[in-house]
């Protein structure tokens, strides 16, 4: 698994993808948090990082599928998947190696936003008047959310040799699982099961974590959805043997 991870990560660095992802994510978040008056912390008047955490998932809906779209699709198209699958590697080695490479790239893109936390902390009145536990919970939520998005991206990429199809499919699925269930639950028809439907989506669990409440149920939700999606990916990869 380690060799696949290193190889994937290197190819991100070699192919500009890594720099693009970080540049786009940080520019977008920087503008939204500090510059655009509608969402800027400076105009808002509260020492709060809500803007970052409520808007970052929407940026990730596009960015993460862009990272993951090539992972299997390209290997399928160029035939290198045959090379990998005839080396002494298990299917899990390949899936997890690729997953962690994508996930680490996202983590590295998120890391610089920690500076926002310290800046906003300084801007508080009195200094340090910020909901630290809420911020920590939100970071954990954001990381877990990107893990789900990465696994969705891998699943989409493993199901087609076409990168564009993989991207669109992944972005769509990310959107559905992030807010789709939440919006669906407000349909009058589903009123009786609204809570259940809402809990299927990420948003419900993400909001709980944002309040600084690290509930094991939410963490288990994120981890199990990620694991399930990776299992699907692995199953698709092994489906050649059916």
């Amino acid at each position: 698994m380690r060799y696949i991870l290193v190889k994937e990560f290197r190819s991100f660095l070699n192919s500009l993808i890594a720099y693009m992802v970080m540049a786009v994510f940080l520019t977008a978040m920087g503008l939204l948090t500090w510059v655009f008056p509608d969402t800027s912390v400076l105009n808002y008047g509260f020492a709060d990082m809500g803007t970052l955490f409520s808007l970052a998932p929407y940026v990730f809906i596009f960015l993460i599928p862009a990272i993951t779209m090539r992972s299997f699709a390209e290997e399928k198209k160029s035939g290198t998947l045959e090379l990998l699958l005839t080396k002494p590697l298990s299917d899990w080695d390949i899936v997890l190696g690729k997953f962690f490479a994508c996930f680490f790239l996202v983590v590295i893109a998120i890391l610089p936003t920690l500076i926002y936390y310290f800046s906003i902390r300084q801007l508080g009145n009195p200094i340090g008047n910020i909901d630290t536990s809420g911020v920590m919970g939100s970071y954990i939520g954001l990381l877990l959310l990107s893990a789900i998005f990465c696994s969705i991206g891998l699943l989409a990429s493993s199901s087609t040799p076409n990168q564009i199809v993989a991207f669109i499919l992944a972005a769509f699925l990310c959107f559905i699982i992030f807010t789709g269930f939440h919006s669906l639950s407000s349909l009058p028809v589903l009123a009786s099961v609204a809570v259940g439907v809402k809990q299927l989506g990420i948003l419900h669990h993400y909001e709980t974590l944002s309040k600084g409440l690290i509930d094991s149920r939410d963490v288990i939700y994120f981890i199990s959805v990620t694991a399930l999606l990776l299992l699907f990916t692995k199953t698709i990869l092994s489906a050649r043997t059916w």
Binding site: Y3, V6, K7, R10, S11, N14, S15, S78, G79, T80, E82, L83, L85, T86, K87, P88, L89, S90, R240, T241, W242
Partner: protein
Amino acid sequence: MSIVIQNLSKVYGAQRALSNISFSVEAGEIVGFLGPNGAGKSTTFKITTGFLPPTEGTATVAGFNVADQAMEVKKVIGYLPEHNPLYLDMFVHEYLQFVGGLYGMKGQRLKNKVGEMVERCGLTREQNKKIETLSKGYRQRVGLAQALLHDPKVLILDEPTSGLDPNQLVEIRKLIKEVSENKTVIFSTHIMQEVEALCDRVVIINKGEIVANDRLSHLLAGKRKAAFAVEFEGEVSMEELKQLVGIDTVERVKAGTYKIEGKEGVDIRAELFRFAADKQLSLVGLKQEQQNLESIFQELTKQPVEA
């Protein structure tokens, strides 16, 4: 026995790619695997390397069953897939080290091995380049180096020489010959001279069925009817030609040129010459047609296999 294929069948949807083929390759042998495009060569290799499962039958490599000991099989095999897939954005050394890592080699040992492979495969001049900048011949060498890196006991090469220029062909062939000492090698190709130059034995496959599996010398010896392309100045009566002693078949190729096949073990050249002298014909050409692997291949794979 190094590779044993038993009653192997593969069905893709409605298409039957392999039907019940069996053959084996002894340890240390070099076997050529021939067949027209779409005959099932690559499918056989894909099953043997554990990339695809067979629909029926078993494949064993070095005593390990491909179906349930896939990991062991993958460790003993060096495989060059068809079209030689490579990570084009990697450097030669980087790529070879990545592959070596997958086989559990590391540190100085890996570096030394990669260096040795680069040298052996004639990549020294191009070793610091990205793979995407290499020409086809050099890419093929990288593919071979990748397959040979972990010193596999069994080497499976799917069309290792396709698309190379004549010089590269000779070099790659020489390389295969060199590295094949103490290894079991099976490779597919469309180039008959290659098989004649390298192989102990040939397996010919057509439409998913094995049509020949024999030592090269036997296969060639079995076809020892001498055939001649005979050219006269002007037309000659076919009937008269057929009357001659020792002549089996006569076929008119074009005006004045005939393909004449003698009966087994009979040299018909003298007879033909006397015939020409008697009839006062000018015999302007007499060329023996080599019964080589190419013609055997064509003969075996031309007709549809009977159902």
